[in-house]
Symmetry: C2
Subunit: 445 residues, 2 copies
């Protein structure tokens, strides 16, 4: 087998994967549907800022790309909750000052493309839209988006990192016994913007992920290097209060005054931006199998597009790359062995992070302002402080460790039982070091 | 609006739907991918016989087609269970001699096509494979399967009754916020055959659905008018004992001797047929919405392909037609009103029958030979006999009434609680008329 691989999609995961393959001796051709975003401005107004956490960093590190990205990432140590009354409360993410990192999707993608092209043997072909993949022959048909001509290529090893509406997956979907689902959640989202203050000053706390939780919907804001914040409103698509009913600038003003009054002074043009930017929907994708013989594999969103509420979509895709790299190190070019191991290891974890992310939406929009939730977080911290080796909070397991998502989910569910029990104990702080309570906790750990 | 409608697919549901529309003044063009099955023999060896039950009959009656079909349908009053030891036990389906009816898919489809074409204004175009539907313009592109030429048609009202891999649904799937899933169960199936005995004699009880339940898999057999039985083996696709491991005629012989010994004398050529007939997979499909504006709607398997284990796939599709007919009678040609009502009414019922059918597979292959299950069925009968007005057994609600599937499912779940309680009562038969037990039951009803 020639050491050549084809990657569909030069997004975050495809660009990173090319480096993993190139470092193991592969010549890699990447085909990207869109023009080169480093030369042309594309698809503005519908980005959700990224939050890089430990799995993402490790994926980048495995390709030697960590340092480059560290330079532009902004640490966010806490959730900054903007309450309805205009007050703020800060909820640290980690126990030991850990942070998740705000990076712009476009910026990170451009850097990854640069780093990919610096590898010997990696070439990116832009404006190539994949029309069809013949899985058995390895024939790929592209439409050149500038000339509209069809181009045929052949490859013995094909990766689909072409996102939620993957062309490779579309071809796999025609195979017998291919499970597939696309599901849209009830909410849609819209990008908004808080510009930098005078001299590039941040108008809110820089090192935080800002949330305006409003029970059934929310606004969030993540910092950018230029002092601005990228905001995202997650809101009902239809219904009494929804994107569908905000029809005029006046509607938007009334809505913002009611729910996000403290944000208005920082968003001078929000009413115009609201209608200039599109309202985008939020699908999630599940499918299986992810691979075809030793010939093709789905990776990243193409295999498992999730909702953005745990900030793990990209991190999970980068972890896919890391695991695939480790499997190559153990099994060389034996893709017949690698692909089954890859999908069996990753599928339960992709399912777990999807479920965790769906639940985290409820947590973010509703529970971060809920007294019981906050109390349980406090109890979690008390236990984590008392048993630092044995008890890692659920959020931390996902964001700051490499414990498989499915394992983190299992532990988290089990743990919720003890938190529920301790929640019922009056004056827990006083009784915490008693033998009874300590035994109760130890029995659980 | 002109009273013209286009139907994709001349299968069971499409043919029936055309009659409903024609009777309400519509000119109907049906486009069918396959050749005319009344003239050419097609797709043999992969059919699962149909079991018509009350919903199906009512759907046929609504188009005036009931009598014609009654003539060829064979009533099945009971499940005939073939135990491993070679013994038989009969389990009546209904309380009052009700039956489900065995009909051949091909035969029923041909009759429905004949009856459709007898309606003024209905025309079936065969060998027309739908390639694409432009939902907004109503433009349909077909490939003529004989000439391979593309043909373009236009229609203001389009129905997709084109089955589990519907072309109309494929076009709807590209719309924003269209939920879709295809899921394959772990089992596959294979058609087998018991020929008629001498002089067209049935070799087993004619008026029964025969089941060989073998815990994790099963064989079934349904009677045909010519004295033969159409058999279906539902079996693991892969694994130690599975279609994948039955590779030679000897493997098949060993397998049949182990599990279906009493069937062997009736199936002289089973080892040859086993390899001559394909192994087919069992997908189920969920999607939503089912309609697009006032322009297009999915119906039958195209909207909700289920697994065959409750024998309700066709019955549910015919009920779709009946409900659509009633909505037309109430709302005339106001499809803007009809379509939302249609999908809101039918979607929960399609979801319910899918879940019921998945559960019924477990019941058929495993529980019909399970002591607790049989005891609960006995108790169910005792209650149904004592309270005939108030208590209809779960199977009967689905097969012999028109209670919406979702309602039948809800009642069935609720009822299982009382059955579980009564199951624990020793000597229930003696105590059944006691005040205590009677009160317990009445409280539930």
């Amino acid at each position: 087998m020639s050491k050549q691989a084809t990657i569909l999609g030069a997004g975050l995961v495809g660009s990173l994967l090319s480096v993993y393959l190139a470092k193991r001796g592969y010549k890699v051709d990447i085909y990207e549907r869109r023009p080169d975003m480093r030369k042309e401005k594309i698809s503005a107004g519908r980005s959700i800022n990224l939050a890089l956490s430990d799995r993402g960093w490790r994926g980048l590190a495995g390709a030697g790309l960590e340092e480059e990205i560290r330079k532009v990432a902004i640490p966010m140590n806490a959730r900054m909750v903007h309450n309805t009354e205009g007050t703020l409360s800060s909820q640290p993410y980690g126990m030991k000052g850990e942070a998740i990192y705000s990076v712009s999707r476009g910026g990170l993608n451009k850097t990854l493309m640069d780093l990919a092209e610096q590898q010997a043997g990696v070439k990116i072909y832009f404006n190539h839209r994949c029309e069809e993949v013949n899985l058995d022959s390895g024939e790929l048909i592209f439409e050149d988006q500038t000339t509209k001509q069809l181009i045929t290529k052949k490859s013995e090893l094909i990766f689909g990192s072409d996102g939620a509406f993957s062309a490779l997956r579309r071809s796999m979907q025609k195979l017998d016994r291919f499970d597939y689902s696309q599901t849209y959640i009830e909410h849609s989202y819209k990008e908004l913007h808080i510009p930098p203050g005078e001299g590039g000053k941040f108008l809110m706390e820089k090192n935080a992920l800002h949330i305006w939780p409003r029970k059934n919907f929310m606004l969030i804001a993540l910092p950018n290097a230029d002092g601005s914040f990228t905001c995202t409103l997650f809101f009902h698509t239809e219904g009494e209060e929804s994107f569908a009913t905000l029809k005029t600038e006046n509607d938007v003003e009334v809505f913002f005054k009611k729910y996000f009054e403290d944000a208005i002074p920082m968003m001078p043009d929000y009413k115009k931006v609201f209608f200039a930017n599109p309202t985008s929907s939020l699908p999630y994708i599940k499918c299986y199998p992810w691979t075809y013989k030793d010939k093709a594999a789905l990776i990243g969103d193409a295999a498992h597009a999730v909702v953005p509420f745990f900030g793990q979509g990209m991190n999970c895709g980068f972890e896919d790359c890391r695991i695939l790299g480790e499997l190559m190190d153990e099994n060389g070019d034996d893709w017949k062995t690698i692909f089954p191991l890859y999908q069996q290891s990753r599928k339960p974890n992709a399912d777990a992070i999807l479920e965790l992310a769906l639940n985290n939406f409820i947590e973010m929009r509703d529970l971060v302002a809920d007294k019981k939730f906050l109390r349980k977080k406090q109890i979690e911290k008390m236990i984590a402080n008392a048993f630092p080796e044995k008890f890692i909070p659920a959020y931390s397991m996902v964001s700051f460790t490499h414990i498989p998502y499915s394992e983190a989910q299992r532990i988290g569910k089990h743990r919720d039982e003890i938190l529920e029990k301790l929640f019922l104990v009056e004056n827990l702080e006083e009784k915490f070091s008693s033998d009874e309570i300590q035994k109760m906790i130890k029995d659980y750990l």
